[in-house]
Amino acid sequence: MHIFQRTIPRILAVLFGIVTLVLLGIASAESGQLTGWASFLAAVALILGIINLFSVHLRRGFRGNFYSLVLVIALAATLVLGFTGLYGGKDTVFTYVQAPLEAALGALLAFFLFFAALRLLHRKHNRWTVLFVATVILILLGITPMPAFLSEIFASVNYFISLVFVSAGMRGILIGVALGTITVTLRLLLGSEQPYNK
């Protein structure tokens, strides 16, 4: 049993990983074939996700949760519209329901962030908090309409902060992420990282 549950998945994962990597180096078209199979599996996983969403909320709905019932009904209605094409099909749902709701949440996010910055001053009293809030204010002033002479000053400060501090910080984070990505991938290829083998 151990051989089917642990050894064979490990051999397959390492084999396909190495073959894909080598093909990427010498024949990228064939490598694309293998990643195409992975995309197909990802599509199957999405169907599993929808079944999971449906079963979790159906159970909650039976327990009397109103929002879960709304979700189950909306999911079923969208599926019906998608398959039948009635009333413009699924595009109607995306245009008149999902897009406005997502836009509304996106707009709320700006207020959440503004109040979070204010709360941060109450929550954490240290120089980093002051620096964070001061930088936010400077950046906001840099993009706010003002008299010309003030606008030029704040715009140049904004440009300097973005070019030097923000770029340096982001590059530092991204280099760290890239190094982490390399080592995680190599551990998978060596078979020492086995997230598929619990």
């Binding site: 990597l21 180096g25 599996l41 929002y67 709701l101 959440f112 979070a116 190094l179 080592t183 997230p195």
Partner: protein, 245 residues
């Protein structure tokens, strides 16, 4: 160019393999303390001791995408949390924002239940798929609902997130939850800096598994990362000097 990348992969892979063998042979390796990881372990400990569950959201990086390692790092952290939680009868509440993460997270939780000797208690609905990766705001709204109704004591967001993370952090903040954000995305980290208690910045997220579980290959990968970082820093300095001349 692809052949150069292949050559680099072989060299770095060889270094990782050798360092792993040295640690397996008994070489001691000291890990420098990371504030984010210390906060993570103590926060989870406090939640478990008080009998409250931990909410763990894995973001929305697909396992077949170029940012999959971020999700794999989150899975490594979930592995540890799930083992601790299942052993104490307070399993984590797990939410995912991408289809491929669902079976992976279910597998981690199932493994933790099996290790705790309670395989029969596991159900696939213990991990919740919230929305696909193309709808970040729907994902944030769904996770916020779960956070508010799960009676969790701690909120851990580890994986790939965007600015929508602010909505989840706001919802958890209203429940007075302790929060930690670990992400590869600078925007999510900036939002997390304002709204969460502690951050795992970039590579710290990838180091979480090594600090929490400490398998030889994970610790060896930290050594390789340090080595690569020195090479990158040296290369940046050399090219900066050349450009100045």
């Amino acid at each position: 160019m692809n052949l150069v990348a292949l050559l680099i992969a072989v060299v770095v892979g060889g270094a990782l393999f050798l360092l792993t063998r040295r640690i397996q042979a008994g070489q001691e390796v000291g890990l420098r303390p990371l504030r984010g990881i210390q906060a993570l372990t103590s926060q989870v400990g406090r939640a478990v001791e008080s009998g409250r569950r931990v909410h763990f959201s894995m973001g929305r990086a697909a396992l077949n995408s170029s940012i999959a390692p971020t999700s794999l790092a989150a899975l490594a952290a979930l592995d540890h949390l799930a083992q601790d939680g299942c052993a104490s009868d307070v399993p984590p509440v797990v939410t995912v924002g991408e289809g491929t993460l669902l079976p992976a997270a279910q597998d981690q939780l199932r493994g933790a239940y099996t290790q705790a000797g309670r395989a029969g208690d596991f159900s696939n609905t213990m991990v919740e798929f919230v929305a696909s990766d193309t709808s970040p705001m729907s994902y944030a709204a769904g996770v916020s609902y779960t956070v508010q109704h799960s009676n969790a004591g701690s909120n851990l967001l580890m994986g790939h997130f965007g600015p929508e993370i602010g909505i989840i952090l706001e919802a958890a903040g209203r429940q007075d939850m302790e929060q930690i954000v670990g992400s590869d995305d600078p925007v999510a980290l900036a939002v997390g800096a304002a709204m969460s208690d502690e951050l795992l910045i970039g590579e710290e997220l990838f180091a979480a598994g090594a600090y929490m579980k400490g398998s030889p290959s994970q610790i060896a990968s930290l050594q390789v990362q340090d080595l690569l970082r020195l090479i990158v820093v040296a290369a940046i300095l050399v090219f900066a000097v050349i450009n100045l001349l």
